[in-house]
């Protein structure tokens, strides 16, 4: 297989917005270092202003005691001034730091999609859509909380502590000692609680997860449950999970409910000690009332940062775990990448498959398949369900990781061609017609850079006509502007397939590979589409995977697959005469047609 790096600048731009190298959190933070420093500086200033206020309070109260009322009024004015400027600085500092979290979230999101675009089936088989989405939604937001909220609080607590302690020490070392007496307990409690809360919130989340899979299972099996009249058994199962979730959640809630009053209590213990010892010192005459008041203010102001520490632990732990889960996606290796020195495909469109074998894990799907299609020729691949037809088609288009030196386009190994240009040369229409939540016109014009110009509109209409879906689109409520896909109008299976077919026909590729694109279309419409395709197929190489002999027989060459091997090939007449699998499939379908006509 090809290596992951790209030499071509064009491909590097498109397929590799950021190199697939492992990215640490630091590498995401680094581009924001200027903002980070700025935010920290602002936090420092905020704290300087914040912690100056108790100092002023001391002066004011002492002045009040001594009756220097002018000083009191001046201090009051200063407090107001500091408060006002603190408001400004604090707004900016919070905005700056939280914005960094949002910026990194923004970048992570973009990187995630860009990387998902590069990943192949080996990844998507391993990680179901739900799991991928859960990581992109829930885990990403945990990472953001860690960066924005976690960072702010760590830095802020650090500043708050050092400043408050320094100022307190200057005022009265003895009282400072009393004030910080409960803090070791506080930190210990915070850590213990944080840890236990982390464990319990894990447990609660697991319980919720189990509950959710129970419900999912009950709903997925709803028809059987009904048929068996087994609703009450399902309810018992659900109730078990529900009760378990309740218990686990309550266990969490108890710690949480316990933590806050406990933290407030222990933190207030500081206030109690300062009050007790401070008033004692005032009575002895060794401490001014103002200093006592300032101490009370400092102790109060350290309450929240200390309590926050316990939570920050949990936030950091969760954020780290989440980042690792996101990183698992970001670091997944793509199956299909540009080879070093990949070149542009040539324009003729001759295909050659040479001893191609392919396996999903240890299940062999294709074995030693060889054939060739001349430029502008046509080939049908037929065979029973599970014979490997779709895999073969996807390998020719390099939608699956095609082995090296097995598929050649105009004599070039397709794994040595630049992907971006290969995609333009070789179009692939899937069996499963996946439409996006977009207008019909945008879905058909999916390959176009824009879909609103008159030329584009004309091409879209033309493609829709070739796929025999134009008149039906025009009958839709909003015509070409009708929204389809998950959030739009529900088209029938056949309509979806034909819209997808129009999408594949529009770019007029040199090679068109269609994987059973008409399975949900009735035979009459199919014949009409195939007529249209005969027209459209002129001047291009055409590979059609199909179950239907009526469609296959229009192709110049037919390849019959069975159990991953080519069992027959030739044109329609030859294969019929041979009396093998193709002939029996043909007979079977003729009978089916007769039956339908009865």
């Amino acid at each position: 297989m090809s290596s992951a790096s790209a030499d071509s600048p064009a491909a590097a731009q498109v397929d590799q917005p950021r190199a697939g190298a492992p990215r640490s959190l630091v590498s995401y933070l680094r581009p924001h270092s200027a903002k980070l420093w700025q935010g920290m500086l602002l936090l420092l200033v905020t704290n300087l202003l914040d912690k100056s206020i108790p100092w002023l309070l001391r002066d004011a109260v002492d002045a009040l005691v001594s009756g220097a009322l002018g000083t009191v009024a001046r201090s009051a004015g200063l407090v107001a001034l500091l408060a006002a400027s603190m408001g400004v600085v604090r707004t900016i500092s919070r905005t700056t730091v939280f914005n960094i979290g949002r910026d990194i979230e923004f970048e992570l999101r973009n990187d995630l999609l860009a990387h998902l675009h590069r990943l192949g089936p080996s990844f998507f088989q391993r990680m179901p859509t739900g799991e991928t989405m859960s990581r992109a939604i829930n885990d990403l937001s945990q990472v953001r909380v860690m960066i924005g909220f976690g960072l702010l609080n760590i830095v802020n607590s650090l500043f708050a502590y050092s400043l408050a302690l320094a100022l307190m020490l200057v005022m009265s070392p003895e009282l400072t000692l009393w004030a910080v007496l409960p803090f070791p307990i506080l930190v210990l409690v915070a850590r213990l609680m944080g840890k236990s809360m982390f464990g319990r919130s894990q447990a609660s989340q697991e319980a919720l997860g189990r509950l959710s899979s129970r419900v999912q299972e009950a709903l997925a099996g709803v028809r059987l449950v009904r048929a068996f009249g087994a609703e009450s058994e399902q309810e018992a199962l659900f109730e078990e999970a529900n009760r378990n979730a309740l218990e686990k959640n309550m266990a969490l809630v108890v710690v949480r409910g316990f933590t806050w009053p406990l933290m407030v209590g222990v933190a207030s213990l500081g206030t109690l000690l300062v009050l007790f010892r401070g008033t004692g010192l005032v009575r002895e005459g060794t401490l001014s009332v103002g200093t006592l008041v300032a101490f009370l203010a400092y102790v109060e102001s350290l309450k929240w940062p200390t309590m926050g520490l316990g939570y920050i632990m949990a936030v950091l732990q969760r954020g780290r775990a989440s980042f690792n889960r996101v990183r698992e996606i970001l670091e997944a290796a793509p199956d299909i990448t540009d080879a070093p020195g990949a070149k542009a495909p040539q324009a003729a469109g001759a295909l050659r498959v040479d001893h191609l074998s392919y396996a999903y894990g240890d299940r062999t799907v294709l074995q030693d398949v060889s054939f060739s299609v001349p430029a502008e020729g046509s080939l049908a691949i037929v065979g029973r369900t599970g014979s490997g037809k779709s895999t073969l088609a996807a390998l020719i288009a390099r939608i699956l990781p095609t082995p090296a030196a097995a598929v050649f386009l105009d004599g070039d190994d397709i794994t040595q061609l630049r992907l971006r240009e290969l995609r333009k040369t070789v179009a692939f229409a899937q069996q499963e017609a996946f439409l996006f939540s977009e207008t019909v016109a945008n879905n058909i014009g999916y390959a176009l850079p824009e879909t609103s110009s008159p030329q584009a509109t004309q091409r879209i209409h033309h493609a829709a006509e070739a796929a025999c879906v134009k008149s039906e689109i025009e009958e839709l409520s909003d015509g070409w502007q009708t929204m389809v896909g998950e959030r739009g109008v529900q088209l029938s299976g056949g309509q979806k397939q034909r819209v997808a077919l129009a999408r594949a026909l529009l770019p007029a590729p040199r090679v068109l590979i269609m994987d059973d694109p008409l399975s949900a279309v009735d035979a009459k419409t199919e014949a009409r589409i195939l007529d249209a395709l005969d027209e459209a197929g002129k001047g291009r190489t055409f590979v059609l995977v199909t179950n239907r002999i009526a469609a296959a027989e229009r192709c110049a060459h037919i390849l019959v697959l069975d159990g991953g091997r080519v069992v027959e090939q030739g044109d329609h007449a030859t294969l019929l005469a041979a009396g093998g699998l193709y002939a029996s499939l043909s007979a079977r379908q003729r009978l089916e047609a007769e039956l339908g006509a009865l």
């Binding site: 914040d50 919070r94 802020n156 959710s212």
Partner: protein
Amino acid sequence: MNEVAQDRTRRKASATAPTSGAAPALVPASNARERPSDEPPTLRDLGLLKSLLPYLRPHWPLLILSLCLVPISSLATLLQPYLVKHTLDAVLVQHSESAWLRTVTMFACALLVEFLVGFAETYCMQLAGQRSMADLRREVFRHAQRMTISYYDKTPIGRVLTRVTNDVDSLGEIFSSGAVMAVADIVTLLGVIGFMLALDYRLSLITFVALPPLGVAVELIRRRAREAFRDIRARISELNSYLGEQVQGVQVVQAYGREAKSAAEYMKINDEHRKANYRSIQLDALLYSVVESVSMICVALVLWYASVRAGVLSGNAQQAAYIGTVVAFYQYIQQFFVPIRDLSTKYTIIQSGMAAAERVFGFLSNESVEASAAPTTAESPATIDTAGEALRFSHVDFGYRADDLVLKDVSFSARAGEHLAIVGATGAGKSTTIALLLRLYEHRAGEILVGGRDIRSLPRRQLRQLFSMVPQDVFLFAGTIAQNVAFSPTSVDEAKVREVLSRVGALDLVERRPGGIHARVEERGSNWSAGERQLVAFARALYRDAPFLVLDEATANIDSETEARLQSAVVELMRGRTAIVIAHRLSTIRQADRILVFHRGQVAEQGTHEELLRQGQLYAHLHQLQFGAQ
């Protein structure tokens, strides 16, 4: 003050939000239907609260207890600054050691009460909240179990799942985040005002001067924040559905080389999301800072007024007493502003909880539930007689959509113990017939009788108890093989499980696995082969031992050894029962007493294998089609 407090509620909220376990709310339709929920409380909210009431009512003692504790813990909190004042007074004014010790002790007591009562209050509220949410969840699940199968044909499972899990969670967040304790905040606010007025009404009035402008500022910011918040929700839902689609359609994106353009589109939504967040962050920071600063400006006002007032006060004693009052005011101001600052966070949680409540109760009021049984009439006897004519379809019409009939005028009957095989091309109406028999759907016209009784007059459960059903795609749930055979998580008769497994010839297969009949079954039975799953489903039907067997034979490719096992198992399964089999195996068809040939929603031919072959019509064609080529 500091930066932590405001995020407290929010962080607590995120502690319980499901991250990985619960399925993500993927279904964009549910987001699209979600109306903007950030409007001020309205009649809608009142209506929702009313709907919530029945779930809270069973837990009212806890709720009342919790609410009764609120004033006590508030009082303990509010007393603290008051006691600080008196401690200072004891030192500065009274110079009395006993008074000093007394107030300090009282302060310690207040701390203790605050802690104990605060805990009890939170605990009771949480217990009531969590329990009522568990009740609500159960009700939603029950309702989901009663929704018609047609509803499930149209609705993605994810959406219903979201109602049971995520939506109930966000509603419960009102309790678990403590947002519901906003009630307590109001008590505290009123208490602070009362204490301040009692201490010194002049200082109080000076402090309250700051309130009207603060109120205006908070309201202005909040209104804009609401818009930003609404914008964020819309964008995040757009982001998630875009990403979901990109993941599901990744092959299409790759096949058309659309990566760059899609990334650009996504980045645009992402950027709008970020901008909306920037706005909300800024407003949030502004609100936080304004409240903090105004509280400090209040302190400044108090100090300034103290300087004015102290000049008026006569005598040292009065002046000294004034110091304690100023200090107490400083602390009251702090207590006063914290709830105001946290108000917006709590409001946000309550709003998103209300939005979730709307979806949950909307689902609960969805009336496409299975209709209950019609009362018995003279024509349809109350007893079910399965000895004579076991079942009869007469002139039954049915369609999944209003404009399209899948079954037209279907009539047939079966004697007790008779084995019917149903054959026909795909889409001929075979599976639909079986679904109607079990009343998974309501037939549109005609009559279906089971044991002489109209199925519409039977309670569904009673009707379905009569049948052992084996669907084409076997559904195994996570658990053990024994639980799956018994189709029950709790009451498993192990001897009977062994017996039925051996009767279908699967006991040796099961016992080869570690754990034997207690071998693990992964979600959807993914660790068992298709053939093994079939055999387990057969055993399940035998275990149930119902008078009717309904079997939809699987067409999947199965190895010849398992195929042989399945063939003999089917014989065992049908023995002594009235059986209707949608048959794909020649052996099954040949063993049937009668074959019904379905064609385009009608019974076109019936008879035995030989009779029908002789007729040389549809059946002969079908036979040749299915078995001729082999």
